[in-house]
Symmetry: C2
Subunit: 411 residues, 2 copies
């Protein structure tokens, strides 16, 4: 049987896997100022309208629109100025017919007034009189009560991640505390007898642990809390014990397997033994990432990543990030950041697997964006550090020629 | 004089302004695990090569390539198996001609060997003998010492922001502490007699402070540390005193002015009085954002933003974010996250100013992305909370018709 029939299509496997992820992190109540990047656990309903009073959108004069009917430069309407609307307070007067009041942008339109004339369309002839040089319609330059947000309106749904604008919206409503999903705790294990902590001197044959740290960082950038369980030797019992502990203590477990086939199989065995349904995919039609393992136990997502650092990080981005969203109950997904660029070199690829290629994006001589492929053979982490993003080459393509317009998914 | 001649082109004004920002935040040394999102203060030079020993890229047999010359399925080369390379240690043997050793992916190629034959291209006939079914060239399936990174190579320049891949690269080199730019402290002031803290009940005529919080959140998402100086009344002396204090205590000051023309002028006066060169731009050909003020004093950037929340946040994104980068010494700029989409409705715009329009991005019926314009008149913050990003309409265009392909800059 050809290999591509045994391997699963990566993103269909991901959908099947995520569908089984039923575990959810708990909910906590936070001050809104501390909730940036968190996911709302319940919808926000406006307890009051915005604005709560009729507001002027310009500097000028509050008037009764009817009093300005037919007014023009040559035939102004003369209105009696009865006062000035104070900022931040309700005016203490009511406009009667033939009257006007000075008002500033954001000021409360006084009772009796139904429009505001812009300062530019007036002339102050006398202390107590203003000439209106242009007619205004009822409601002109006024925001009505509830025009932006009505009382009882759902302004933000549950499952939305809070960006600066949402934080501001909550503040506008006086919602200074919010219920949000707890940060998902992600247990991270590295395996491999050759892997040592980065702060230790290297002996011949040893390499430093990179994956624990790149995956921790990725988890942090996507709202999770990494919990590192260190480096586990290539030993079934040791891996089983460490993984079980991580599984009990966290919401999701990510193991970066050693690089040899036998340690990858050991990882799959361990992940499969944690509970039902166990391993759902082992081997995907994707490069890098073919040996990726997707599993679920007790509704919690479990991921086995290839040991080489490029493959581990790229596939953490493909699989760990969406699982983090699911654990937090994200319902509003934003488009993934990307740019379009023209390939500055050929991208080789084999048919039968989707390939994700690191590229650097730069401004070409004509000012348009170019994507320069970063060729790698040994999957070193610096190849990714030098990249701005990844270009997918579809499964049915045998590479893309230089000059092709491609979408670069930014890191 | 037509207004657009008095107003400055926004991004040219920004360049002139940033050129005068000579202040830099200090440098601090951090554990690399805590440096995610920080900006490197000095280049990273590899103190050792990566890999530090010749590594196998496959599971198989380490051999002398010459011994496999002419080997094929029908005429295998028979080699004596002298041992197995342990993971994480140097092998204790040297290969002599006619010998081979079991090796795993990532294992150290033993002295005497110069290539690795993949397991798939071998057959183990006897305990001490392997049949090699395919010839290998010298160096095949081996990464040489320094092939990825050479000793003394600059692997990361100063001024790069550390993403997960860079954190991993630093760990691969054993660089567990790094010198990075301190987080810039940004002093944030809101002005307006009508503005009250979000946790207070609203009286008629009052609105809650939104801008202090949206700008704080934006500063946080771009590596800065917001310092809120609260709400200052519309009074020159009070604003002067609060601004001076913020100026002394922080690296950058951002004031969101009250909404009326007089309070905006007051902000410009205050910013102009802090030192040379003072206000460089007051009034830009951009919507929203026309009343934006760009100033510099003692090399520190100062920004006056319009009071309405949409305008304040959009222009903080245009002007505060690049100033934060400059303060941190960023030299490597990444492409701004964006997507391309087809406009689902007309975007009205006036010629003579660049307009940035909030849109929501959604999947259209044919699967392609559509950008749905979010129309706003009163600049409420929820209009931005409902948007995925902004579409620029160039200064010389009078709107864009539905169906136009546009670039959406994501928040």
């Amino acid at each position: 049987m050809p290999e591509f029939l045994r391997l699963q299509a990566p993103f269909e496997a991901r959908e099947r896997w995520l569908a089984q992820v039923t575990h959810r992190v708990g909910v906590e109540t936070l001050p809104t100022v501390d909730a940036l990047g968190r996911v709302l656990a319940e919808p926000i309903i406006a307890r009051e309208p915005i604005p709560a009073f009729p507001r002027s959108t310009v500097d000028g004069y509050a008037v009764r629109a009817a009093d300005t009917h037919g007014a023009s430069e040559s035939l102004p309407a003369y209105l009696q100025v009865v006062g000035e609307v104070p900022m931040g307070r309700a005016p203490e007067f009511t406009l009667a017919p033939g009257q006007a009041a000075v008002i500033h942008t954001g000021g409360m339109v006084p009772p009796g007034a139904d429009a505001v004339v812009m300062l530019e369309h007036t002339q102050r002839s006398r202390e107590d009189e203003v000439e209106v040089l242009r007619a205004v319609a009822v409601g002109e330059n006024v925001i009505q009560v509830g025009e932006d947000v009505q009382q009882g309106q759902e302004v933000l749904p549950a499952g939305i991640r809070l960006r600066p604008a949402e934080i501001g919206g909550l503040m506008a409503l006086g919602q200074t505390r919010v219920k949000v999903a707890r940060r998902p705790r992600v247990g991270i294990l590295s395996t491999g007898d050759e892997v040592v902590p980065p702060d230790q001197p290297l002996q011949p044959g040893q390499v430093r642990d990179v994956n624990s740290y790149t995956i921790s960082a990725l988890v942090q950038t996507h709202g999770g809390e990494p919990v590192r369980y260190g480096i586990v030797p290539d030993d079934f019992d040791a891996l089983m014990q460490a993984t079980q502990r991580a599984f009990e203590e966290t919401d999701m477990v990510v193991i970066t397997a050693g690089s040899s086939a036998s340690t990858r199989d050991m990882t799959a065995q361990v992940l499969n033994s944690l509970g039902e349904p166990g391993v759902l995919a082992h081997g995907l039609r994707i490069k890098p990432g073919k040996p990726t393992i997707l599993a679920v136990a007790q509704g919690k997502p479990l991921v086995g990543l290839p040991g080489n650092p490029v493959s581990a990080l790229v596939n953490a981005w493909h699989f760990v990030v969406p699982a983090l969203e699911k654990l937090q109950g994200v319902t509003v997904t934003r488009p993934r950041p990307q740019v379009r660029a023209r390939l500055a070199g050929n991208l080789p690829s084999e048919a039968g697997r989707e390939e994700w290629y690191p590229v650097r994006v730069r401004q070409g001589e004509d000012g348009s964006l170019e994507a320069e492929p970063i060729h790698y053979r040994s999957n070193l982490i610096f190849r990714l550090a030098w990249a701005d993003g990844l270009v997918p080459v579809p499964e049915d393509a045998t590479g893309l020629p230089a000059g092709t317009e491609v979408v670069v998914f930014l890191w």
